[in-house]
Symmetry: none
Amino acid sequence: MEYITIASVPTELTANQFSLVYNAFSLCIAAMFAAALFFFNAKSQVGRKYQVAVIISGVVVSIAGYHYFRIFNSWEAAYALQGSTYLATEELFNDAYRYVDWLLTVPLLLIEAVAVLALSKEVARPLLIKLATAAVLMIGTGYVGEVADSITTRAIWGAVSTLPFLYILFILWTELSQAVERQDRRVKTLLNGMRFLLLFSWGVYPIAYLLPELGIAGATATVGVQVGYTIADLLAKPVFGLLVFSIARVKTQIDEAQVADQRPVTDTNGNRAEDLVGSTR
Amino acid sequence: MEYITIASVPTELTANQFSLVYNAFSLCIAAMFAAALFFFNAKSQVGRKYQVAVIISGVVVSIAGYHYFRIFNSWEAAYALQGSTYLATEELFNDAYRYVDWLLTVPLLLIEAVAVLALSKEVARPLLIKLATAAVLMIGTGYVGEVADSITTRAIWGAVSTLPFLYILFILWTELSQAVERQDRRVKTLLNGMRFLLLFSWGVYPIAYLLPELGIAGATATVGVQVGYTIADLLAKPVFGLLVFSIARVKTQIDEAQVADQRPVTDTNGNRAEDLVGSTR
């Protein structure tokens, strides 16, 4: 049994099929880097203790932007227009970029989600170790399936990969459920949104992965898998990051209001207020 | 009926026609990234509650800069100089970049316009949902027309696309009219400028779209459409962003002056002043 590290793509695509994937990749590059610019510039809008979550959002979308740049170039090189159809060239389309991307970004996304909850270190650390280990197992086994030659091998490794995937969702879901109860009403709504976005966006990955198993083969499967992963990445990274940013901003407002109530004549601007409190204690 | 996703361009252009479009695209790349550098660096010149509007201005022109870079490269690859004329190559000019760009930037421009008004969340949210839905409908139906093979199909989808377009302008116009009345005199002048810039710059898009319908065909139509869209993008993004920045700056000065009136011996620097008011109420 030989594993090839490069995904097999159909030898022929219509102009519409090729362009749909091409334009989806280009949109994704633009969206990822735009989100990065937003997060890095908007981090000062949230209190200091939430800024790391926003910075990590920026890092995640930057990594994804880089990988979509590579994926776009690989897609462009893998096909050439002949008459009115696109035929596969000598160059192979490299799907490994996605798995390299997930290997870096999934643990960071988990850190981001935990960071914005602002849990204590004693709770956060074991949680992150469990989640990161499961993430690496999920991506590693998923990749073996993705590059497998036979549909059966793909299904088996896909099933193996689903176990750590479900474990991550279970941990995050229960942890978020607990966190939700402790929060202010506005934060509660946003955290609930985050729970459902996690479930929904992460749910797209196995569906895209499953397409070839469902008998949707050839060009349609490839277009479905590529566009599906792209949509999932847009939801799981920039949209998720915006939700984290919103949670951080609402929490900052709540923190500032509390400081203002306690200390009437003080500068309540973000971190500074916090620092003031600290320095006068 | 088959839709091709790549705009058909004339097979022959004079050197002047090719260069006019080429140089317009290059100018646009420079202007977009220059504006991005300005907005990201100048955001600290406005009070904290207006900074998100300025950051979004920076994000919008960055996305547009990326797309003009792609459009420029696509234009360059689509023609080759043969003797004294430019002949179409095998490479197709990809006009979809514009629609991908608008799909991302138009909702952001609407958010930007609403953000600088600093409306309450209860007013802003339903307004943005209406505007964003209309924007997606407008761009989607416009794209179908843009890539249509027949001039009739183009006209039909263009007309369909005009309905959400007019709806957006109507909503923004009435909302801005209401906002204008509530504002200080200096802000009033700027908001009025914003209303007219919106109407004028957005008005260029349907004119550029209409050129092929008006019997202006072939090379002249292509040059007109490309240069027209470029001018419209320059007005609707960097120039609009500068107006938003000016509004934010004047509003910041007014907020600071109010704080200074109430508390003669205080630091009136930007956000802090605003926060001080909050904390002493």
